[in-house]
Symmetry: C2
Subunit: 190 residues, 2 copies
Amino acid sequence: MYAPLLAHIARYVTLTAAEADLLIGYLRRQPVARKELLLAQGQVCPANYFVLRGCLRTYLTTEKGTEQTIQFGIEGWWLTDYASLDSRRASEFFIQAVEDTEVVVFDQQVQEEVFGRLPQLERYFRLILQRAVAASQFRVKLMFSLSGEQRYHHFNALFPEFVQRVPQYMLASYLGFTPEFLSKIRARVG
Amino acid sequence: MYAPLLAHIARYVTLTAAEADLLIGYLRRQPVARKELLLAQGQVCPANYFVLRGCLRTYLTTEKGTEQTIQFGIEGWWLTDYASLDSRRASEFFIQAVEDTEVVVFDQQVQEEVFGRLPQLERYFRLILQRAVAASQFRVKLMFSLSGEQRYHHFNALFPEFVQRVPQYMLASYLGFTPEFLSKIRARVG
DNA sequence: CGGTCTCTTGACGGAGTTCAAAGCTAGTGG
DNA sequence: CCACTAGCTTTGAACTCCGTCAAGAGACCG
């Protein structure tokens, strides 16, 4: 079912039933098992992914061999490596399922054609991207203006249910510190 | 002269001379003196700004009273607070001229109208935003995978001329550490 | 059950901060 | 064209947050 995606689009632009059908003709759904990769470092990112259910994350491996989570995406979020998608060069990131997940795949190859036929959809993606930039400005703000412990409490207050869903070592790497430190924060308060 | 902006647009989409004239009718140019603010914290961000010459930065003040630079924008870059522009709520950021600067102002109020008349321009901004998201993913990657000193050397290698243009305390707050620490890094190497 | 992931706990070390004071530099006005 | 001032940069000492390493305790899955 593409209904969650169509509902999401409807929050930004209006598509007729015929236009929605036209769009769906270009899309496909794909299940992704927990820990499975949608994109591996070194590969050219082939598509933009919309999470129907489950959870994805973008991460990379540092020189020391540790994983660094860049972004999470749950139901209703688009996730991709825009740098690779845009330039068609090898990606520096992995995109992996945190839980068993189902995504809508919007292939890079058909995007220009779809935008040509559905200008409303180009507007939708402009607005989605605008929100993504806003979210990333917000993240930079938090990274710099709060201590590690404050970032954890802030995140916990904003997304309490989400903290339950992801392993703590992923959350730690997203918040910018080690799993050991996260464990010590939790020991202090609960 | 709007030529630098039109040249920038031409790198992404094609506008006829008539379309370019139509666009320019919606724009205006504005000089911004060094240290002058284009946007203050608490204000609703009224426009998107394209730097014709000079340099802008987005920053905020933390609880401790220190400034935190979120982003720089030099010639050929668009800068705004997308969260405020989008939601029309009060901004958390300042946008300030680092040097004497001249910008093109693209007012929020006319954006929808312009995009309606020039669908090519909507595509242009989609692509600009895509690059902005890619840049911000890259920045998060650097923030987490490199030490403070490594970030400085990396930035210095990528934008040597730019490092000359901005005060060191701004650069330090952009790279995520104190001016004192930047000074010590420089003392070590040169 | 048995093994592999994940989380916890503690000792120690280091990258970067804070605070304070002094040295520079650039703009400003006389 | 010089003198003054305000803002920027440097330097050093003490300190702190958080990382690293290591060992053990759970927890989940086949």
